[in-house]
C-alpha cells in the first residue's frame, strides 16, 4: 500500500469509527434527543433533494468565501507592512492585541447596530474577526524573510513585481497556508453566529429555527452537510494548493 492510500484509509477509518460509536450510543439511549446517524442521514437526504438545504448552504458558503478573501487580503497586506517596518509595528501592535481579544460576538453586534441588519454588516463582522489573526501569522513570516535572497533580486535588478511574486511571496507561503487553514476554521464558525443573529437565510439561520423547535435531527443533518463541505474544501482546495506550493521541498 502506498503511503498516500494508507493515509486515505486511516482518514476514512476514523470517520467510520466515529459513526459506529454514535450509532451504538443512539441505539442504547433510544430517545429523540440523540437521533441515530441513519435517521440524520435520511433527513439530510430529504432536505437535500426536496428541502432548502442546498440554498442555505450555498448562501453560507458565499459569505464564507467573501469574508475569507477580504480578511486574507487585508490581513496579509497589513502583516507584511508590520513585519517590514518596525515603526508601523510599534504603532499598531497594541491595537492588534486589542483586536485579537475582542469577542467575536461584540464585533458582530456592533456591526449590526452600526450598519444595520445587512449583508455588508455580516461580511464585515466576520472579516474583522479574522483579520487580526492573519496579521499576526503573516507578520511572523515577513519578519523571517531571507535577506540574502532579497539581495540576489537587488543585485540582478529584478523588477519590483517579479521580486514580490517570485522571491518575496514564496517565503510567506507556509505562513499564508497556516493563516488560511486556521482562518477557514474560524470563519465557518463565526459566519453561523452572524447568520443566527441577523440574517434570514444561511445555515446559521436554519440552525436557529431548528433550535426553536428542538429539532435535533435537523440540526445534526445540517451539521453533517456542513462538515462534508468542509472536508471537500480541505481535500479539493487546501491540500492540493499546499502540495503545489511546497512541491520544491521534495
Amino acid at each position: 500500500m502506498t503511503p498516500g492510500s494508507r493515509e486515505a484509509w486511516l482518514r476514512g477509518l476514523s470517520l467510520l469509527g466515529f459513526l459506529v460509536v454514535w450509532q451504538l450510543a443512539a441505539m442504547a439511549v433510544n430517545k429523540p434527543l440523540l437521533p441515530a446517524p441513519t435517521v440524520v442521514l435520511s433527513t439530510l437526504w430529504n432536505d437535500l433533494t426536496e428541502g432548502s438545504l442546498l440554498y442555505h448552504l450555498g448562501i453560507t458558503l458565499a459569505r464564507v468565501a467573501v469574508s475569507f478573501l477580504i480578511a486574507m487580503a487585508l490581513g496579509t497586506a497589513l502583516g507584511i507592512v508590520m513585519g517590514r517596518y518596525r515603526d508601523v509595528d510599534a504603532a499598531l501592535d497594541s491595537l492588534l492585541v486589542l483586536a485579537l481579544n475582542i469577542p467575536a460576538l461584540v464585533t458582530i453586534i456592533l456591526c449590526y447596530i452600526w450598519f444595520g441588519l445587512t449583508e455588508t454588516a455580516a461580511v464585515t463582522a466576520v472579516a474583522l474577526n479574522k483579520i487580526p489573526t492573519v496579521v499576526v501569522t503573516v507578520r511572523e513570516g515577513a519578519r523571517a524573510v531571507n535577506r540574502r535572497l532579497m539581495e540576489v533580486a537587488g543585485v540582478y535588478r529584478v523588477s519590483m513585481w517579479r521580486t514580490f511574486v517570485q522571491v518575496y511571496l514564496p517565503q510567506l507561503y507556509p505562513y499564508l497556508m497556516a493563516a488560511a487553514r486556521s482562518g477557514l476554521a474560524l470563519i465557518w464558525k463565526i459566519v453561523l453566529v452572524v447568520e443566527l443573529l441577523g440574517r434570514s437565510n444561511g445555515v446559521g439561520f436554519q440552525l436557529g429555527t431548528f433550535f426553536q423547535f428542538f429539532d435535533i435531527t435537523g440540526i445534526l443533518a445540517y451539521t453533517f452537510a456542513f462538515a462534508a463541505v468542509v472536508l471537500v474544501v480541505e481535500a479539493t482546495l487546501m491540500r492540493p494548493l499546499e502540495r503545489r506550493l511546497t512541491r520544491w521541498r521534495a
Binding site: 540574502r148 539581495e151 540576489v152 543585485v155 540582478y156 529584478v158 517579479r162 517570485q166 520544491w248 521534495a250
Partner: protein
C-alpha cells in the same frame, strides 16, 4: 565597456560598531580584467563587494564604471553578476526559472536559457528544484546565473569555498570558459592563494582590518593553469617566503615595484 572600474572607499563603518570596517581602500580594474582580491578574514573583502554591488550604500566613497558612477539615484547603471559564498538560488523555482528570474524578459528568450544550460551541461536538470541537486550542481547553476545576464562586471565572494577539490576544479574551469565568452571585469575574493594565482590576471592583497591594498601582483603565467602546476607552486612559495605575513594581512605600506626584484614576471604597478 571601454573605461576601467574605479573603486574608492574612503571610509565605511557598520552601524553600531566602533571600529572602521574599511578605510582608504582604492582599486582599479581594466575592462575584462580578472582581478583576485586576497586577504585575511575580517579585512572587509565581502564588504567591498557589497559596496560595489550597491547592497551596502552606507559609506563614504564612490564607484565608477565606464566613466560614470555605478550607483545613481539608488539604481545600478551596469549589469552586475554576483556569485555569493552560498548558491543563493530560489528554492521554489526550478533551475530554468531561477535563470529566467534574473534575465530580461524583453531581450532574452527561453531559447537562450536552454542554450546556456546545454552549453554548461545542465540541460537535464532545467526542471529540477535546487534542493534536488548536489552542492556542486547548485554552485554551477549559481555561476551560470551570473553569466546569464551578460555581466559587464562579475563579483565573486569565495564562490568555491568548502567544495571538494575536483568539484572546485571543474567550476574554476567553467568560470574561465564563461569569462572567455562574455569578457566581464571580474573581482574574485578569496583567501586561497593558489586559487587566486591560478585564475587571475592580477592579485590585490588586503591588509587586516581596516582593509586596504598592501600589495599588487600581476600573474603572467599562460592559461590554462592548474592549481597544482609547478609554476603556480613556485609563485606561491616565493610570495610567502618574501612576505610571510601576506595571508594574515601585511602591515606595511604598499611596496613599490623595485622592492620585489626577484620576481621576473612582475610588472610596474
Amino acid at each position: 565597456m571601454k573605461n576601467p572600474l574605479h573603486v574608492n572607499i574612503r571610509r565605511k563603518i557598520f552601524a553600531g560598531a566602533d571600529s572602521v570596517a574599511v578605510e582608504g581602500l582604492a582599486l582599479t580594474a581594466l575592462p575584462g580584467e580578472f582581478v583576485a582580491i586576497v586577504g585575511p578574514s575580517g579585512a572587509g573583502k565581502s564588504t567591498l563587494l557589497n559596496v560595489i554591488a550597491g547592497l551596502d550604500r552606507e559609506m563614504d566613497g564612490d564607484v565608477q564604471m565606464d566613466g560614470r558612477p555605478l550607483h545613481a539615484d539608488g539604481l545600478i547603471t551596469a549589469r552586475i553578476g554576483f556569485v555569493f559564498q552560498e548558491p543563493r538560488l530560489m528554492p521554489w523555482l526550478t533551475v530554468k526559472e531561477n535563470l529566467m528570474l534574473v534575465m530580461d524578459k524583453r531581450t532574452d528568450s527561453v531559447e537562450r536559457v536552454r542554450h546556456l544550460l546545454r552549453e554548461v551541461g545542465l540541460a537535464d536538470i532545467e526542471q529540477s528544484f535546487p534542493n534536488q541537486l548536489s552542492g556542486g550542481m547548485q554552485r554551477r547553476v549559481s555561476l551560470v546565473r551570473a553569466f546569464a545576464i551578460r555581466p559587464e562586471l562579475l563579483l565573486m565572494d569565495e564562490p568555491f569555498l568548502s567544495l571538494d577539490a575536483p568539484t572546485a576544479a571543474r567550476l574554476r574551469k567553467l568560470l574561465l570558459t564563461l569569462w572567455g565568452e562574455f569578457h566581464p571585469t571580474v573581482l574574485f575574493v578569496t583567501h586561497h592563494l593558489r586559487e587566486a594565482l591560478a585564475l587571475a590576471d592580477r592579485l590585490l592583497f588586503l591588509s587586516s582590518s581596516p582593509g586596504r591594498v598592501v600589495l599588487e601582483f600581476p600573474v603572467q603565467l599562460p592559461r590554462p593553469r592548474d592549481l597544482e602546476d609547478a609554476g603556480i607552486g613556485e609563485l606561491h612559495d616565493r610570495l610567502l617566503a618574501q612576505y610571510p605575513d601576506l595571508l594574515s594581512g601585511l602591515a606595511e605600506e604598499k611596496p613599490s615595484a623595485s622592492d620585489i626584484p626577484d620576481f621576473e614576471n612582475r610588472q610596474t604597478i
